[in-house]
């Protein structure tokens, strides 16, 4: 009897982590040319949304300094194309940073980025970019992100005015000529705060619009979120997303957290993942699932191997079929590799999985993902021989 129970337990344990056990990834496709000395690509935007799909198109948006200064670039391919088209320069100005991309219908995309201290938005349709629209006011603006729902466009960024900071959210639409049209701008919080707000992430689902960000008003970094059920006309009072941990010493304010990424999935659900330093050994990857303007308990989602090593750069994606995925990088196997996990049908996080095409010798890091409606996973990441060497961007499709 005991033997039978053990067999059953073993059989169940083989099945339960199997969300990604059968996943196969395509041979990687280069998004950018071979690494060149002195050129560095970055996928470091707020919310880490650097890839999107629309219809048959796949679009990748990043920053690199191939022109001599940091600028934003877009590359596209169809699902059937063997390669990406040559990159299109999106930004102008002296320097541009931290872009984000989201899909519109009919093979179109909306792009946002920071350029010389201002936030710009543009669309890509057919074969061209629309004229960029400057969204931010006179204040110093940075850390922009974007989300879409049924072709409604929302953009978030932070603004610094003297010694105060605020998050601004714009609601946009597109004209028949595919130009960006600004509908409204409003702050998330009623009043600006005296400490920096950082790297807001934005997501939508059938119930509304979520924004999550780093807040320092508590004397250490906490993650806050807010929700709007009326197309960004108003927001609920910000709530804490990460649970509070402290060693309760004389000096302790609480643990560190940083770089949250959120994504809508299903009809009305939301996933958040972030770096959380509530235990020793660097940041872990923690996540929370929410709905109806609230989040549930925090869960550690990185696996036991390398638990006490740092984990970095989480990114999230979801689809309408109730599927969601979180990716990040850590060096539990020596060098930095890409890792991912997903919710199973019971709402439990599956075992960590590292796609072989984004693992092995050298550094593979800074993944960004788009989970399409068929459950296909579009994955991009940065590859370099070591943390100081030049970089290259890769893409792979997992099914």
């Amino acid at each position: 009897m005991k033997y039978t129970a053990l067999l059953v337990a073993a059989w169940v344990s083989m099945l339960s982590p199997g969300v990604f056990a059968d996943w196969q990834f395509s041979q990687p496709i280069a998004v950018t040319r071979k690494a060149v000395n002195g050129i560095y690509h970055h996928l470091e935007g707020a919310g880490r949304i650097h890839i999107a799909t629309s219809g048959n198109r796949i679009a990748v948006l990043w920053e690199d300094d191939s022109s001599g200064d940091p600028q934003i670039y877009l590359a596209l391919k169809t699902r059937d194309d063997p390669d990406f088209n040559p990159a299109i320069k999106v930004s102008s100005g002296d320097e541009a940073y931290e872009p984000a991309i989201a899909s519109l219908t009919d093979g179109r995309f909306v792009l946002v980025w920071e350029q010389d201290g201002s936030i710009y938005a543009s669309t890509f349709s057919e074969q061209s970019l629309s004229k960029p629209l400057k969204l931010s006011a006179k204040s110093l603006a940075s850390h922009s992100s974007v989300a879409t729902y049924n072709d409604q466009i929302y953009v978030v960024w932070r603004e610094q005015q003297d010694e105060t900071w605020s998050l601004q959210i714009a609601r946009l639409t597109t004209t028949q000529k595919q130009e960006i049209e600004l509908l409204s701008i409003r702050p998330v919080e009623a009043q600006p705060v005296n400490t920096p707000v950082l790297f807001p992430s934005l997501a939508t689902n059938g119930k509304g619009l979520y924004v999550a960000w780093e807040d320092r008003t508590a004397g250490h970094t906490r993650l806050k979120f807010s929700f709007s059920a009326n197309q960004a006309k108003s927001f609920i009072e910000p709530q804490y997303l990460n649970e509070f941990y402290s060693n309760r010493t004389e000096y302790d304010r609480g643990n560190g957290v940083t770089r949250v990424s959120i994504a809508g999935f299903g009809e009305d659900e939301i996933v958040a993942a972030w770096m959380d330093k509530r235990r020793s050994g660097g940041y872990g990857i923690f996540a929370s699932i929410g709905s109806d303007g609230a989040f549930g308990p925090n869960e550690k989602i990185h696996g036991p191997k390398g638990d006490k090593l740092p984990h970095s750069n989480p990114a999230t994606s979801g689809n309408v079929n109730d599927e969601t995925v979180v990716v990040w990088d850590d060096y539990r196997n020596g060098d930095s590799d890409i890792w991912l996990t997903s919710l199973d049908e019971d709402g439990e996080w599956g075992e960590n999985f590292s796609p072989a095409i984004a693992a092995g010798p050298g550094e593979q890091s800074h993944a960004s993902v788009a989970l399409d409606e068929t459950g296909g996973l579009h994955l991009i990441w940065i590859e370099r021989d070591n943390p100081l060497e030049p970089t290259r961007l890769w893409y792979s499709y997992g099914k």
């Binding site: 470091e44 950082l198 320092r216």
Partner: protein
């Protein structure tokens, strides 16, 4: 009137304390990493690189109990170019390979496990050793002597510390 002044004082104290948390220790001339590299090249000085975190309890303890020591402040300021990295910030820096990234990404790639972490560099900007967690005033002086007096050229840190 007293109530108004009290409120103003509380607001000011809160504002100042929040800002103090984000910063390296007071009365030290800590620079962003890329500016420290340039300064060290011009001054031919070693670099003391401090990875801190906003609200980190051990960092605050060291600020109050160690970095506040006048002799340590004088020694560190005279011997080193001081660099500070906020491990969660989006402040942009240029690394010595020319790459532009943020302080958070620099800390992540440097595999910093916790804060505070201190890295001592030679005059030639070669990393010599790393220390993490609370360090006493005496330890900080020993590390300082080890680097600035050139003991690292002939002796391992562990051997130097045991002989001291």
């Amino acid at each position: 009137m007293i109530k108004i002044y009290s409120l103003l004082f509380l607001c000011l104290a809160n504002f100042m304390s929040q800002h103090a948390l984000a910063a390296p220790p007071e009365q030290y001339n800590f620079l962003p990493y890329h500016k420290a590299l340039k300064q060290a090249s011009e001054d031919h000085k070693p670099i003391f690189l401090y990875f801190g975190r906003y609200g980190c309890n051990t960092c605050l303890k060291m600020h109050k109990e160690v970095f506040s020591n006048p002799m340590l402040r004088q020694t560190m300021s005279a011997r080193f170019v001081l660099a500070y990295v906020d491990t969660e910030s989006g402040n942009r820096i240029r690394l010595d390979n020319g790459e532009r990234t943020t302080e958070m990404q620099f800390a992540s790639r440097s595999r910093i496990l916790g804060t505070p972490t201190f890295i001592y560099f030679s005059e030639e900007q070669k990393p010599l050793f790393k220390k993490s967690g609370f360090q006493t005033i005496a330890q900080m002086h020993q590390y300082s002597d080890f680097v600035s007096q050139g003991h690292y050229k002939t002796t391992a840190l562990k051997q130097y510390l045991s002989s001291e």
